[in-house]
């Protein structure tokens, strides 16, 4: 895809062509082109939310599919994420001004003893792109950090990440702490990380194991839908 790049002038493309080109540019991790594309669409009167969802999120969705299918690998996904991040940096203040729809709030962090955050950062970004307010606690979080953030932020969803076999059991420590406080069922708990699997997620009492960022977004959306349906039924 990158070979054709020299001949393309983004500003000369019509909206549909430009959006498709931005999908390609995200795929190729072209940060500057994404920034340019975002600015062109905004200049043409596009709503920031439409730029985010139609150009960036949809582009990353394609990247996610090819990552899952083994066509793209971590380095390429990181470059794409970097490009999307640059686009989002332009859109974020505008989204706040224009009152883009908010699906819910998530607190997310890598557990104690673990400094790996590539997957967690991808989830954070994709969740933000999908319309979630994300509070990212970073890496190496003891249970107290999660409890404090839950208390302060009152999220809908708690996300935990771990890359090591030795650190993934700590997720259960956090979930048990929520149970002890009698607040476990107040939050949807999503877990993820390379050595995890669905069975582990169930065994520790999480609501769902998410194998990648795209699954995390879909799972989070589905839980929010259920929550809204429940509230509507109770109203």
């Amino acid at each position: 895809m990158a070979d054709e790049q020299d001949d393309i002038v983004l500003s000369e493309l019509d909206d549909d062509e430009l959006v498709l080109q931005m999908h390609d540019d995200l795929y190729d991790g072209l940060r500057e082109e994404i920034e340019e594309g975002v600015n062109i669409l905004l200049g043409r009167g596009w709503q920031p939310y439409d730029v985010l969802t139609k150009a960036l999120v949809e582009g990353m969705r394609i990247v996610g599919i090819d990552f899952r299918d083994g066509i793209l690998f971590v380095p390429e996904v990181l470059l794409a994420a970097n490009a999307m991040k640059a686009g989002m940096a332009i859109l974020k203040p505008l989204l706040a001004e224009t009152g883009a729809p908010q699906l819910g709030k998530m607190v997310i962090g890598t557990v104690k003893g673990d400094i790996h955050d590539i997957g967690k950062n991808l989830v954070s970004m994709m969740m933000e792109g999908a319309g979630f307010d994300v509070i990212d606690l970073g890496i190496n979080n003891p249970v107290e950090n999660y409890l404090e953030a839950i208390n302060n932020e009152q999220p809908d969803i708690l996300g935990m990440s771990a890359l090591l076999t030795t650190t993934m059991p700590y997720m259960k420590v956090v979930i048990d702490a929520l149970k002890e406080k009698g607040i476990r069922d107040d939050y949807v708990v999503l877990v993820g990380g390379a050595p995890l699997n669905e069975e582990f997620g169930k065994a520790i009492g999480a609501d769902a194991y998410c194998r990648d960022a795209a699954v995390a977004v879909e799972t989070a959306k589905s839980y929010m839908d259920r929550k809204h349906n429940k509230l509507a039924a109770g109203a």
Partner: protein, 218 residues
């Protein structure tokens, strides 16, 4: 004869193909071949056979349990009554343990080879004490840094992702199995390329020797 590191990374290898059922089979990661053969030779455990899977499986740990299961069955089909697995958990999140249990074979304890080379107890204590920002190299990884880490992680093509991949690490700790100044220099150079501090820890073969002694007695 031990093949070169490229072969151990990409293909794996085994010490022989015609086997006697009285012999013991060690199924191992290619990254451990040299060390396992060294321990066998040092102790004269000639009845231990070795078959190695490609070390590059470490970049896709979800493939390890299935690959080990296939090798265990292959060894059994060849008549080996005793089979030992020289893989740590290696990021399989307990799935390798399940395979070992289902196939009735024992594996070396530990979450990864860094841990059993250092000694599982000592490594756990260090982790508990806060050693969590170290990126570990063994002799094999020092030799194969370019193939498995630099190229394997795509840093040869996209240097700009280095901070995203290694930004939370503070130092490289080279767990040295042997006393080899050339390898130390390679490990030191690797740390420099990653932009990390360097420390060397001479571990020898750690818990590997005890595990192989156990297999030799089986």
């Amino acid at each position: 004869m031990l093949p070169n590191d490229e072969t151990l990374t990409e293909t794996g290898f085994s010490t022989r193909s015609d086997v006697a059922p009285s012999r013991v089979m060690l199924l191992a990661c290619g990254a451990l071949a040299r060390e396992i053969l060294a321990v066998i030779q040092l102790n004269g455990w000639e009845h231990l056979e070795l078959a190695c899977l490609p070390a590059k499986l470490h970049n896709d740990p979800e493939k390890i349990p299935g690959a080990v299961r296939a090798k265990v069955r292959e060894a059994r089909a060849k008549g080996y009554a005793k089979v030992f697995v020289v893989y740590a958990d290696c990021g399989t999140g307990g799935l390798l343990d399940r395979v070992c249990e289902e196939e009735g074979v024992e594996r070396i304890e530990g979450p990864h080879c860094y841990s059993f080379f250092d000694g599982n107890d000592a490594f756990a204590e260090r982790e508990e004490a806060g050693e969590i920002t170290a990126f570990y190299l063994t002799d094999f990884l020092a030799r194969q840094f370019d193939t498995l880490i630099w190229k394997g992680f795509g840093l040869d093509r996209h240097l700009d992702i280095l901070p995203m991949m290694f930004g939370n690490y503070e130092k490289v700790i080279y767990l040295a199995q042997t006393d080899d100044p050339a390898l130390e220099a390679k490990a030191r150079a690797a740390a420099k390329r990653l932009g990390l501090a360097f420390e060397m820890r001479r571990t020898g073969y750690g818990d590997l020797t005890g595990f192989l002694a156990n297999a030799a007695r089986a």
